[in-house]
Symmetry: C2
Subunit: 648 residues, 2 copies
């Protein structure tokens, strides 16, 4: 097959690609993360690139105007390589920088020592252990086989009912035992109810035993390097999940993963991300890759399927059945994760197709399953996951929120990375009084928390009504009409933004957000209703999810996303996934607890067949709600005028 | 590297081999089993071949005379390829035909239904099961994952505490379930205390579930094809273990296996044998190879090490420690055994370096561990293994008998294959009155039972004295002097033998046998002495081992191999290995029993450090013994004259 040379600018990265491949595919192969919401279907218009030179063939599309096409602009997913080409990938089409939630500081919900270790909930008893043993030398009177000699010594100090090993270890065992003078370190891995002698090393290597706690998100991958002997976090890293090039959300990824080859492609892409993170972590911590013996991973059900190479197709087909909620512990190398070649990979169990191991980790971190008081947990992302319950029972559900919380489907939306407005405050006439930009500098766009802030502020100032429509009288000159005839509110003129383009919020944007928040609120109401409870019965509301941690409670309540409860009842979980993965990594008891008391104890409620959800959803498509009495703290404010007209 | 073409006659098989390889190595590569006792060290002289044409380089040796060398005769192991050659491998240098103990008839100790099934000792509960299940289709209210749906259904009918599966199965599971209309057959394999979902097949395939019971001997490999649903044996096959080209006994094989490459070579050779047998079995039984899902294998500790690719080096070094007495159950494909690609291989556990899973199987078949009466089990081969005990305790030991019981080290010795004299009877003057030849026709040599017969008869007729020395007065003209000055007794002149060479028995041959039998007898006495028992305390004596089954009790007692007890106390086990392997294959309870009540319950006595054994061994180097009072039934016979002279 004919191949061509493709150079990407400004990276100056050149790769070979086969004729007929799309520029999006070539960029993914070059490791350049190009934005794509629709996984290459040509319907989101996010993957704009500029063809600087060379021959390409492009399908027509509706996102680019004549002037842009004349400038060489093209959609990467709709443009096919037909010769050696040079492509510029502009900043706005990239997944820029490092995700915001990378650091240990983001965990606001206690440190690991509150959870694992002496006096804590779980004993420190890592999933992977290195045990130094000094064996008695065999004699004529004690000539049991090498394997049994090791097992016998291990059983002296620990109660292991089923101990397994493999031929690879047995093959090396005789020489290692004798060359080390019968002083060896046994590497023990916990594998689904049994303990495996994963390896045997000469001498005492037990001092260094490192694990990786992984939060495998649809958007972001976060990895913490953990000393399994001390529970200490040695280093932390985060990066975007490069699968984003194949679709923004899990549904797009599932649709892309229709063939075994594509599933391999998706797996390899995210495993590369994981390997990049781990490689960077061990450099930071000054340890050898070979010393990393275990990865514990929390992620949503689809992400775990894709990591394990399992077919997620049925996750998006009624009745939404995963292949496996608890994939087995495997050798990490089996999926291509590069740690010690005999190291293991364990994943936190899921509950259902849309309530994954990440939510299970959140619940663990919240502690709600240990309190007799009623708690609600909300994990906010493209999907919103909700759990309600106490120490006696837990029920969960999932609601599709759409991409607006992560900046998707919003004219000037973006992820919470450098340049994103994460917090904004407006004056009475809609003028901006406060604006926080991630990383400082000029704003580039609005991330989820910024969007909610903006809409809540517009509502508070009366610039929009409870249906999300602009009031020209109050907006004044900031309100204008876009090229497509949509009404838009000018937040920043191009001269004040990083890209030189106006930063606006349209009525369509606001409508998208209303649908997102309405979906979550309605789901919460249905879940409570299902168990015969009301919002007032809630003693605690835990907010989880990458985006959730940056949400201001007051604004969340104002737009009707969060229930109108005393602010003291709300708590942020932080990155529950990575903390949960860390607990499991450090304590077999935690993993067992997660299986039995959380994942195994949770009842899943499917909302797609829930009549209340279907029938009453439209009542939530107001700010904050059709029924203002559900939000008593907002009553009497400027933004609680009665709703009239269509849809009311 | 330069390669040459090597043609073997009369097979007319041609292969390519590198310059400098020995003819023995080339023959092994061509699948031609050439005799070799010394594993190619040039010291046994068994691998004679005739170079018909082409260039070779040969090391000098002491086995071939000038005339033979002029005829082109060479030792295959000492002759190196130096050009295209044509080699004739004469009949006498081959492992001819099929071993004698191939058929089901050889099992004289009960059929499988006496052991496994309703009313028998063990329930039928095969190590590998195919379970047909009809799953309820998932609904919104019952949307558990595919894996758990299968597990849940299985748990309805069986108590499986730990169920495992792998990504390969999970990967295919969603499609198989849906394409089959939720009617599938689950393949369950027992793996060291856990149950693995080995595979899932669409529809009901449970009717065909086939296993292989394997007796992996140093000399012979026996395979039975077993219907796991009915316990029925569908077909049986046997062949020589092709590792024989690398040494006759386990010690020679261990010495050969010094490098990983050589261990791979030895493994591949015997795995080829196993695959040949299984391929032939499935043709006979008219089933597909893919329907064979499990192999259970009994063999001595060294054979199991070599099968699993484990280093057996320490088995022959004081204090004789195996790498593993219980290698784990693995996928058969891991060692190259060709059955269903996901099928399993389980081995019976060993007790020690020289008491292997074959002896454990013998004990199982004997039933001695279930009787309060004292029993002795003797497994006779190159090594003699002995077990004494009852339902309360068992002690075992091993004694090196040398190769004479298998025809090794005997001038006209051979294995019990076509042409071997298996039974012989002499008249008063040493004339032959009865002679049974395996397969009929002219005799080719003496196998173990024939040798014992011959010596016992010579003793009975007075042709030899109790030191094994010929009495010229009685032997008459049959006694002569060999070319090397040794005294030899002519059994058959060349005109009456298959090879045209005289068939003789020398004093050295008799001396070899005396050392072999003395070793076994002394070991038996030491073992009984160790537990404070005497021969008279024995209620049962079980004779096992390929050779043991053809031994006449009377003759065994006469030469002092077996203790002088009432013949009614002796029983033959038959091929205990294959029957034991079959039991295990058909019953998880039998495997557990073997582990806990036999292998785990047996105490091993190392004779190499036993003073009595060392000090009193020489008293056994007489026929039957220095102390004739130990053999009261023989007292007063013609062969019980007092022993005088050296060594008495």
């Amino acid at each position: 097959m004919k191949t061509y040379s493709i150079t990407f600018l400004p990276d100056e990265k050149t790769i070979e690609a086969a004729a007929g491949k799309t520029i999006l595919e070539a960029a993914a192969a070059a490791g350049i993360a190009v934005n794509s919401v629709c996984s290459g279907d040509g319907v989101c218009g996010r993957c704009r690139v500029i063809v600087k030179s060379g021959k390409v063939t492009a399908k027509p599309n509706m996102f680019l105007d004549r002037r842009e096409i004349q400038r060489g602009m093209a959609l990467a997913c709709q443009t096919f390589i037909d010769g050696d080409v040079v492509i510029e990938v502009p900043h706005e089409s990239r997944l820029g920088g490092v995700p915001q939630l990378a650091t240990e500081d983001a965990i606001r919900f206690g440190s690991i020592s509150d959870w694992v270790g002496e006096g804590a909930l779980f004993p420190r008893n890592p999933l992977f252990q290195k045990v130094y043993i000094e064996l008695p030398k065999p004699t004529i009177d004690d000539s049991i086989c090498d394997q049994e000699r090791v097992f016998r010594e291990l059983r002296k100090t620990r109660d292991i009912p089923i101990m397994q090993t493999g031929l690879a270890v047995l093959n090396r065992l005789p020489d290692i035992l004798r060359q080390s003078g019968w002083k060896v370190t046994v590497l023990l891995g916990c594998r689904g109810g049994t303990v495996e002698v994963v390896d045997v090393e000469p001498g005492d290597t037990s001092a260094i035993n490192i694990g990786v706690a992984l939060d495998l998100g649809t958007t972001t991958v976060v990895a913490h390097l953990v000393d399994l002997n001390t529970s200490r976090t040695l280093a932390t890293k985060a990066k975007y999940n490069s699968q984003i090039s194949f679709g923004d959300d899990v549904i797009a990824r599932i649709m892309f993963s229709a063939t075994p080859e594509r599933r391999t492609q998706l797996r390899d892409v995210v495993v590369n991300d994981i390997n990049d993170l781990i490689t960077a972590l061990v450099v930071d911590a000054k340890i050898r890759l070979n010393d990393v013996s275990m990865v514990a991973c929390a992620g949503n059900t689809t992400m775990i399927h894709l990591l394990c190479g399992l077919n997620p197709a049925n996750i998006r087909k009624d009745p939404y059945v995963p292949a496996a909620c608890c994939p087995p512990t495997i050798r990490a190398a089996e999926v291509g994760i590069k740690i010690n070649s005999r190291g293991l990979l364990s994943v936190l169990p899921s509950v259902a197709s849309y309530v994954g191991g990440d939510v299970v980790a959140d619940v663990l971190v919240s502690g709600m399953m240990r309190s007799s008081e009623l708690s609600l947990l909300i994990d906010l992302g493209t999907n919103g996951e909700l759990v309600v319950g106490n120490s006696d029972w837990m029920v969960c559900c999932s609601a599709s929120a759409g991409p607006s919380f992560e900046g998707g489907g919003i004219t000037c939306g973006m992820r919470a990375t450098n340049g994103a407005i994460e917090h904004i405050q407006l004056g009475p006439n809609g003028s901006i009084t406060v604006c926080n930009v991630v990383g400082g500098g000029k704003p580039l766009g609005l991330c989820g928390s910024g969007l909610i802030d903006a809409v809540a502020e517009l509502l508070k100032t009366g610039c929009i009504d409870r249906r999300g429509r602009f009031d020209p009288a109050i907006c004044g000159s900031r309100l204008r009409e876009s090229e497509t005839g949509d009404k838009e509110f000018l937040l920043y003129p191009g001269s004040q933004t990083a890209l030189g383009r106006d930063l606006v919020l349209t009525e369509a944007d606001i409508n998208n957000l209303i649908h997102s928040k309405g979906s979550i609120y309605m789901a919460t109401e249905c879940l409570l209703d299902h168990v015969g409870m009301k919002f007032e019965d809630l003693q605690h509301v835990y907010i989880a999810g990458g985006f959730g941690n940056y949400l201001k409670i007051e604004q969340g309540v104002r737009i009707g996303l969060l229930p109108d409860l005393a602010h003291s009842k709300f708590k942020y979980i932080g990155n529950g996934s990575v903390l949960g993965a860390k607990m499991v990594l450090l304590s077999q008891e935690a993993l067992q607890y997660v299986h039995e008391k959380i994942a195994g104890a949770m009842t899943y409620l499917e909302l797609s067949s829930n009549h209340k959800y279907m029938n009453e959803y439209s009542s939530c498509l107001f700010l904050p709600h059709t029924d203002i009495e559900k939000f008593p703290s907002l009553m009497g404010g400027p933004d609680t005028r009665p709703v009239t007209g269509e849809g009311a």
